[in-house]
């Protein structure tokens, strides 16, 4: 399914880039192990996170494809010129790979692993990251716990720097690192059993992720009552699970879906709901205030839950939350606990920007600037409750949980 998306172009491109990435200088020195040289995300002007999401939802228009291609093309041109500057060194992909293999004797890259995991639509990005890190443990040739820890740290750093825009990737890596380094029980075991224990735990995370979604769905059932109208925005797997469970429980409710421009996630969401025989209505994004008076509950997913208790989510979340707040409608957020991140944005611009191409259907003159940011920040005072696998929390508890976790 994902093969239809634009990301395969990017993936291919990025594969090439990655293998080219180690510059000749670093090769000569060859002091840093391959994990440390953290190949930067080549498509730095496009958020990889949102691209993956779009790919999963498989709503890609031709225009989108073209723009993505253009973006990549532009980038590869840059790369080319850079390569020329370096003096056109003929390092092929094979050469780079070979170098890595010689470097530490393993042809393994976290990012490859991560990319292969994140292509599964059902798998959250954080879980993909954790699976990739688990693979690092598995393939590691470290002989002491400390060595393994350092290796993991490097791997998670390279993952994080690969896509700085993704909150849940960063949060997932951090959670995993804490989980690994904070186990005092490991100190008393010999290395091999400790390692296998770590792997075992890492394996569990995938299941926990699915379980978390189930827990959230169960918890949120009390908040969906018969005859209510729910407004959803964006495509959130958790919210879908919530609504699916509600439908299975024979609750009667109506869903209003926003269109979710530019990647039209709302269309896909409404498709999914229609399959469940839930009455669903599509709105254009600008019709939210118009329909808000018939809405009883607003449901969001979250790309990241930040320390203030606010959420970072797809563009448009903030304005819907504002409208809902001013009309006194409850705003509920469904998010897994591994999306809690130690970020504290003060305002909308206080985040690393996540860009994505936008399809307007008509050519836009070059003089016209386009706001391409893919997400916004909703402050905690506009949220009513968060449904997480830790329970139903108020926004202020998020920080308490994070402090407990990180201190």
């Amino acid at each position: 399914m994902w093969w239809r998306s634009a990301s395969f172009i990017l993936d291919r491109q990025q594969h090439q880039n990655r293998t080219v990435a180690p510059s000749p200088e670093s090769f000569l020195l060859s002091s840093p192990p391959p994990m440390a040289d953290s190949p930067l995300n080549p498509k730095s002007n496009i958020s990889a996170y949102y691209q993956t999401r779009a790919a999963h939802h498989a709503v890609v228009t031709s225009d989108w494809l073209a723009q993505a291609q253009a973006a990549v093309g532009r980038h590869s041109d840059d790369d080319g010129s850079l390569g020329d500057d370096k003096g056109a060194t003929p390092i092929g992909g094979g050469g780079g790979g070979g170098g890595e293999e010689e470097g530490s004797g393993k042809a393994f890259s976290v990012i490859d692993e991560f990319n292969s995991w994140r292509k599964q639509p059902a798998l959250a990005e954080a879980v993909a990251a954790i699976r990739a890190l688990a693979a690092v443990i598995r393939t590691s040739e470290a002989t002491t716990m400390m060595e393994l820890e350092i290796e993991l740290k490097k791997a998670s750093d390279s993952l994080k720097s690969w896509d700085t825009t993704s909150i849940s990737l960063t949060a997932g890596c951090d959670h995993f690192m804490l989980y690994v380094t904070r186990t005092s029980a490991l100190e008393y075991e010999d290395f091999n059993s400790a390692k296998s224990r770590l792997i075992e735990r890492a394996e569990k995370f995938g299941e926990i992720s699915c379980k978390a979604r189930r827990i959230i769905a169960m918890l949120s059932q009390d908040f969906i009552f018969d005859g209510c109208t729910i407004l959803v925005h964006g495509f959130s797997r958790v919210v879908l699970e919530v609504l699916k469970t509600a439908a299975e429980n024979k609750k009667h409710f109506r869903v209003l879906c926003t269109e979710g421009r530019p990647d039209r996630t709302g269309l896909r969401f409404s498709n999914e709901l229609a399959k469940l025989d839930v009455p669903v209505k599509l709105l254009i994004d600008s019709a939210v205030a118009y329909t808000m008076d018939e809405v009883d509950v607003v449901h969001f997913g979250a790309d990241g839950v930040v320390e203030s208790g606010g959420i970072i989510n797809m563009m448009g979340t903030f304005q819907i939350a504002l409208v809902a707040h001013s009309m006194n409608k409850p705003v509920y957020v469904a998010a897994e606990s591994y999306e809690f991140a130690r970020h504290y944005p003060l305002d909308q611009k206080d985040m690393s920007p996540a860009r994505r191409p936008i399809d307007f259907g008509v050519p836009i003159p070059s003089k016209v600037e386009v706001e391409t940011s893919a997400r916004d920040y909703t402050p905690p005072q506009y949220l009513t409750l968060l449904f997480t696998d830790l329970g139903v929390l108020t926004p202020s508890v998020i920080s308490d949980e994070l402090i407990q976790l990180y201190l």
């Binding site: 995993f176 904070r182 735990r201 003060l346 329970g391 108020t394 202020s396 402090i403 201190l407």
Partner: protein
Amino acid sequence: MDPRRTARTVSDPKVRQVGFFTPAPTERSISDPPRFQDPIQPPSPSPTQVNDHSPSGNSLSPVMIPPAHHHSDNFLRTALQVTSPTKAFSYSAKTVTIPPENEDVASSFSPGRKVVSAKSPSSFPGVKASSVPASELTTVSVVNLPPGISEKAGGASVEVQNDRPVSAKTLKEKTNKAERRALQEAQRAAKAAAKAEGTKASSAASKVVTSANTKPSKAAKSSSQKNDGSQVAASEKKGGDRAPEKDRKKDAPHPRMQYDDKSRVEKAKKRAVVKQTEARNRVELFRHLPQYEHGTQLPDLETKFFELDPMHPAVYKVGLQYLSGDIHGGNARCIAMFQAFKEAIKDYSTPPEKTLIRDLTARISSYVSFLIECRPLSISMGNAIKFLKNRIAKLPLALSESEAKSTLMLDIDLFINEKIILSEKVIVKHAVTKIQDGDVLLTYGASSVVEMILLHAHELGKHFHVVVVDSRPKLEGQLLLRRLVRKGLSCTYTHVNAVSCIMQDVTRVFLGASSVLSNGTVYSRVGTACVAMVAHAFRVPVLVCCEAYKFHERVQLDSICFNELGNPDAISKVQGREEINYLDGLVNQENLQLLNLIYDATPSDYVSMIITDYGMIPPTSVPVIVREYRRDHLWS
């Protein structure tokens, strides 16, 4: 109004785990503290502390209501030890109206009273009769009344009588012949003193210690101790002698004493080392706070330097510096205090037949009460003292004295380095991430942490503009401004009056804090609340920078119930502007009340973020930090 607060009750804190958890029990201990039943509830002090410390021993937690036995305790003690009610009472006008009722009260107790009562108020303010050393020792102090107060002295001396009866009664029961003679001599001496009118009258025969112009209860006590040698029998009958520092410790005024409670004020005053003259015309709402005439205590205290033998010179020095305002700012005061304590511990040697743990705690408490008399403690200092006392109490008994001392000194150094200096660095590291190129940062007053943040951001090559907002009378902002301008930052300087005009250009507000309370209220230099509210109205994020050791579990809703009053003259006069003299001659008017508040409380609604050594947290998470912090450092 804030949904995150109203809704807070929805989820009760259950035992929860964060992140990826497996049912393994080993993980549990990491994420949840089992020791706490209730996250908000301050932990009860260990029983040993409750037992061996008198009210002032655990008085450092300002939330505590003094236990009931405090009063009776005090009364007993007043009967036993030196009663020294003399003091230049310069009470406010309200006090003057009281005498009639007081006279009644006093006269109802009068039968059999042996103590001289002040019949001629204008000339004779009071007598100190000591009963501990029994017989011959009597202290008479003649107080030079400041001009303008003498007509009120009548009221004052009646008040003296007011708390005399209890002690007089016990005196009557317990006096023997020798004591009665002593009292008579005291009467005679007092009359002589009254005639002499303020001259140093001393009656050599009865070893009367007369001190002019001062009320050295300390001195009286220490001299009484000296005399004790000859009256061992008498003092034994009274229950043995007490270590002077222990007396001091018990006598320390409660940090949150209500200064409108007259009887308690008097009791505190009797024992005070620092002679504080109370200012008149206090503002109605703030009568419960101590307000003193400034500038009178310093020369007074300096003269007593050699009389206060249990006070360590380093502590004395720091106290004087607090009093004169040479050391100000939460961190500076805390570090200075700890360094003085370190000196004192270095020179400390346990007296024979005493244990270091108890004696040193008492000693520290006496130092602290001296410092409180110089200037009310800041919350950060209270926390630091709590830490030190806890360390002393936790010392293993097996430790030798020198080991114990070096351990404590190491602890103090560690506290200063980790909790103050290092945490400042961590705060700077966090805060700098919130400064971007092109920002306009506003700060109010002079906070050491904010200064470090600005300088560090400048060093990192960030381009930003600083607005320093300042206010009278301290004008601390100028000091900050000077240091910033020297380093080449581009700055704007304005007074708080203009803050609403300049706020529209500001992108971030950085504020320091004296303390952060557990409901997220920021307790800081007066004016901070105003700046934060204006910033909130303009939707500018307000970042409060505060070290975690300044957090306190108290909850405060306004800035009235706990605050500090500064010198009212500072606001009535403008330095260097002689022509502004509209208030000349009006300051002592009864219908004029001057209020110079030092601190105010900013509600958490106006604070976007608190930057502390544990990272950047919303104000709602302060209780968590308080809890974690205490677990780390008070019970470790």
